[in-house]
C-alpha cells in the first residue's frame, strides 16, 4: 500500500501543494539585486502573504535566490551553500546578469551564464527587476512546483560531472567538502 504508485502520486500532490504554499528563501546577496528584496518582503509588496519567507541558513531554506552578478570568488561560496541545502531545493536567477552577464558581459571576473554552474529553475529578467516582477517570478516558481516540474536539483544530481567540470574550470583551487544528499 505504501509503495503503491497511485498512493505515492496522491502524497506528491499534497506535498507539492504544501511546498508551493511555503517557500523559504535564502536571499544570497551577491550583487546589487539584493536591494530589491527588502521592499518585496515589507509592507508595500508583502511576499509573506504568498507564504514566501526569509530563511536564515541554507539548511532551512528551499529557494536559493542569486541576486545579480556572481564573481568567480563568490561562485565557490554559492556552490557550497547550494550543496548544503536540503531537497527539494530550487534556484532563482535574479536579474539579467544571471542570464547572459548583463552589463558585466565583458567582465573578466564574473560568470556570465549561471545555468552552467547551478541548475536554475526560474529566471527573473530585468536590471533591476522590480518587486512586481520578483513576485511574478515567485508565482511562476509556485506554478512549477505545483505541477511537479521544478526539478533542477534532480538535474544537478544527474549531470553532476558536467556541472563539476564547469565549476572547476572557474575555480582553480578546489578545496570543498563532499556532501551526501
Amino acid at each position: 500500500m505504501i509503495n503503491d504508485k497511485n498512493s505515492q502520486k496522491i502524497v506528491d500532490i499534497i506535498q507539492n501543494w504544501a511546498r508551493k504554499q511555503s517557500i523559504w528563501v535564502l536571499a544570497y546577496g551577491t550583487g546589487c539585486g539584493a536591494i530589491e528584496i527588502p521592499p518585496t518582503m515589507t509592507s508595500r509588496y508583502d511576499a509573506e502573504r504568498l507564504g514566501v519567507r526569509g530563511a536564515a541558513t541554507p539548511r532551512q531554506a528551499d529557494v536559493l535566490l542569486i541576486t545579480g552578478y556572481l564573481t568567480t570568488k563568490t561562485l565557490k561560496r554559492v556552490i557550497r551553500v547550494y550543496e548544503q541545502m536540503q531537497d527539494p531545493k530550487y534556484v532563482i536567477g535574479f536579474g539579467s546578469c544571471t542570464i547572459n552577464g548583463g552589463m558585466y558581459y565583458d567582465s573578466y571576473n564574473t560568470i556570465k551564464v549561471l545555468d552552467k554552474y547551478l541548475p536554475v529553475d526560474v529566471y527573473i529578467n530585468g536590471c533591476m527587476p522590480r518587486p512586481e516582477s520578483v513576485l511574478a517570478g515567485f508565482g511562476k516558481l509556485q506554478e512549477l512546483i505545483g505541477n511537479g516540474e521544478a526539478n533542477g536539483a534532480t538535474k544537478y544530481k544527474e549531470n553532476l560531472e558536467w556541472y563539476r567540470a564547469n565549476q572547476k574550470k572557474i575555480i582553480p583551487n578546489w578545496v570543498m567538502p563532499e556532501y551526501n544528499w
Binding site: 504544501a18 509573506e48 502573504r49 507564504g51 539548511r59 532551512q60 528551499d62 536540503q86
Partner: protein, 302 residues
C-alpha cells in the same frame, strides 16, 4: 478501562496542544503582519510550513547528540504537558492526573533547552554555540523572578501542587493575579523572556546569529523543534492560566484566557527592537526581581 481512558486522554491532550500552539503561532504571524501594515500569511500557514518541513529530506548528520537534541525538546514538552491540568475537572483531557508539584515542573521545564544545548553544541556551528550561551544566560535571568513568584505562591497557600493552587482559587473566589498581584507581575515579566519574542529574541536573532541553536537543523529536525515549541507554548500558557487565572472549566474559556495572556509578550514584542544579552539580563535582575522580592515579602506577611 481506566488506563485506556488515560492513554487516549493523553493523546488527545498532545493533539490539542499541537493544534492550539500552531494556530496561535499563525495568528501571531497575522497580527504581526497587521501591525506592520501588511496583509500577512493565513492563520494556518504554520501547519503548511510544518508539513513541508516534514516532507523535506534530512541528510544532515553531525553525530548522535544532534539527533537527540530535538528529541529531548519534544520529550520535555510532552512530559511537561502531561503534568499540567488542562481543564479544572479533567474532562476530556485527564492526562496522567499527577498531583503535580511546581518544583518538579520547574526542573522539567529546563530539561528540554539543556538537551537542545547539547545537540546544538555538536553541530559545530559557531552561531549555535553563541546562541546556546546566550540562551542559558537569558534563562539565568528570567528563572529567578519566575521561581520567586512561584515560591511566593507556595508560601501564601502552603502547597506546592498545581491542583492545590487551583482549588485555593476556587475556594476564595478570586484569581491569584488579584490576591497576590506582585507575584503575577513578576511572573508576567519573566514570561517576556520565556517566550523569546522581541526584545528578548537574543537566542534566535535571525539577522544576527542566523537563527542560533537551530542554524544547522533543517527538514525533520526543524519540524520536531517547531511542533515541540508549539506544544511548549501551550504548556506555559496553560500553566499561567492554572496558577494565576483560576484554571478553565471548558475549552472555550481556556482558549480565551490563554490567548489573552499570550498577547502580553506578543504585543510587547512587535513594537520592540532586540536587546543585547547583558541588557536582557540586567532587565530581569531589575524590576522583575524587585517585584519577586516584593511578592515574597507580601506572601510571608499576609
Amino acid at each position: 478501562m481506566e488506563l485506556l481512558t488515560h492513554i487516549l486522554g493523553a493523546i488527545a491532550t498532545v493533539i490539542l496542544a499541537f493544534v492550539v500552539g500552531m494556530s496561535y503561532g499563525g495568528i501571531v504571524r497575522k497580527i504581526t503582519a497587521r501591525v506592520h501594515n501588511r496583509i500577512g500569511p493565513p492563520w494556518y500557514q504554520n501547519f503548511i510550513d510544518a508539513f513541508k518541513l516534514y516532507g523535506k529530506t534530512t541528510a544532515i548528520h553531525h553525530g548522535w547528540m544532534q539527533i537527540m537534541g530535538p528529541a529531548f525538546l519534544m520529550v520535555s514538552s510532552v512530559v511537561t504537558l502531561m503534568f499540567i491540568p488542562v481543564l479544572t475537572n479533567g474532562g476530556w483531557f485527564p492526562n496522567l492526573n499527577f498531583e503535580g508539584d511546581l518544583i518538579f515542573l520547574l526542573y522539567l521545564m529546563v530539561f528540554g533547552p539543556l538537551g537542545m544545548a547539547l545537540g546544538a553544541g555538536q553541530t559545530g556551528n559557531p552561531n549555535s554555540a553563541i546562541g546556546v550561551t546566550r540562551g542559558l544566560s537569558q534563562m539565568v535571568g528570567f528563572e529567578i523572578p519566575w521561581v520567586m513568584a512561584l515560591v511566593a505562591l507556595m508560601i501564601q497557600f502552603d502547597t506546592t501542587s498545581i491542583t492545590g493552587l487551583m482549588e485555593a482559587q476556587a475556594q476564595s473566589g478570586t484569581w491569584n493575579m488579584f490576591s497576590s498581584p506582585f507575584a503575577f507581575i513578576a511572573a508576567v515579566l519573566a514570561m517576556l523572556g520565556m517566550f523569546r519574542y522581541s526584545p528578548f529574541d537574543i537566542v534566535g536573532a535571525p539577522t544576527e546569529l542566523a537563527s542560533g541553536p537551530v542554524s544547522e537543523n533543517g527538514g525533520k529536525y526543524l519540524f520536531t523543534m517547531m511542533s515541540s515549541g508549539s506544544i511548549f507554548a501551550f504548556v506555559k500558557l496553560t500553566l499561567y492560566v492554572d496558577i494565576f487565572m483560576g484554571g478553565a472549566d471548558n475549552l472555550v474559556i481556556l482558549l480565551l484566557k490563554t490567548f489573552s495572556i499570550y498577547m502580553i509578550p506578543v504585543l510587547y514584542g512587535i513594537v520592540s527592537p532586540r536587546y543585547r544579552t547583558e541588557q536582557a539580563i540586567r532587565f530581569f535582575w531589575g524590576w522583575p526581581l524587585f517585584f519577586g522580592v516584593l511578592a515574597l515579602i507580601y506572601a510571608s506577611i499576609f
